[in-house]
């Protein structure tokens, strides 16, 4: 059957060689033109020629794909996800991905329908994504810098001034263990991996 998607250029990024092959065969049978393939975004997809990038979303690949596509070419992003954790789904949704497909539910027909919708600028998300996104948003709101206690702000302020754990402990008359505990609480609250990241976040939010 001919459709308006005839010849739409698609790039397939998928680390599993057989799944990738299955996707490519599905797209070709569906009338799309597969202009490239990669695994873990290697080689880097050529978005100058691809109108749709179907990519496997995991931490690093997701960030790279979103950055790459954000260069303004208007390529539609369709993410396939094996482990649909709330943070990843939130990153994808916030990053402008047109569609998210869960591997467990993925079939050739669903793949084609989803990419056709993406070409028409319609979003396709898993049915249970919204509650997960709301849950994630609530968690992020709870981790906002504004929720920091005075003690946590004091510690962050001294971190920002370049003090180490011992220096902060001396300045605030805390034990070093207490300072470490406070720092741990701050990192958890702000969902940060490092002290520097927490200082940056709190500074940008104007709370220290």
């Amino acid at each position: 059957m001919l459709s308006t998607d005839q010849g739409v250029p698609v790039w397939v990024d998928q680390p599993h060689a057989l799944v990738r092959r299955g996707m490519i065969g599905t797209f070709r049978a569906g009338g799309f033109r597969v202009v490239g393939e990669s695994a873990g975004l290697s080689p880097v997809p050529d978005l100058a020629v691809a109108r749709v990038l179907v990519f496997e979303a995991d931490g690093a690949a997701t960030a790279a794909a979103l950055r790459h596509a954000a260069s303004g070419r208007g390529t539609r992003l369709v993410a396939t996800v094996r482990d649909p954790g709330a943070p990843l789904l939130h990153t994808l949704a916030a990053g402008g991905v047109s569609a998210i497909l869960l591997h467990d539910e993925l079939t050739p027909d669903l793949l084609l329908d989803t990419v056709r919708s993406a070409v028409r600028r319609r979003a396709t998300l898993p049915a249970d994504l919204l509650p997960r996104l709301l849950q994630r948003s609530a968690a992020l709101a709870a981790s906002a810098p504004g929720t920091l206690t005075d003690r946590e702000r004091d510690v962050l302020r001294l971190l920002a001034e370049g003090h180490d754990t011992r220096g902060i402990a001396t300045d605030l008359s805390y034990s070093e263990r207490t300072v470490k505990n406070v720092v741990h609480d701050v990192l958890t609250k702000l969902n940060c991996r490092t002290r520097a990241q927490a200082v940056g976040l709190a500074t940008r939010a104007g709370v220290i």
Binding site: L18, R21, G22, H103
Partner: protein
Amino acid sequence: MARVLLGEFAALVRAGLLSLLAEERAQVVQAADQDVPAWVAQGRPDVVVLDLDGGHVGALARYLCERYPAVTVVACSSSRPAMRVFPPFHHGESYTRPLDPEALRALVRG
């Protein structure tokens, strides 16, 4: 022409396998995992390809290797790029390697 028996797989993995086997001009029969022993007894394929992620696949592969030692059994993971190969005449011994379509082709060619 190699005779290949394909067990149950996720749809896109199956599509990828069928495309690869078509290029090898293999004669392919697809079966539910529970029917694999009967199909092997009946058709004596050269290669049986199973989904490594199926919990029962290890036992099924060992059964096939024991009953039909000339058959090559390959279990490909649907979720990870890995495959386990049970070579013929090795009494069910196996090795796991990265899933590589070329390696799969070589096994089908014998």
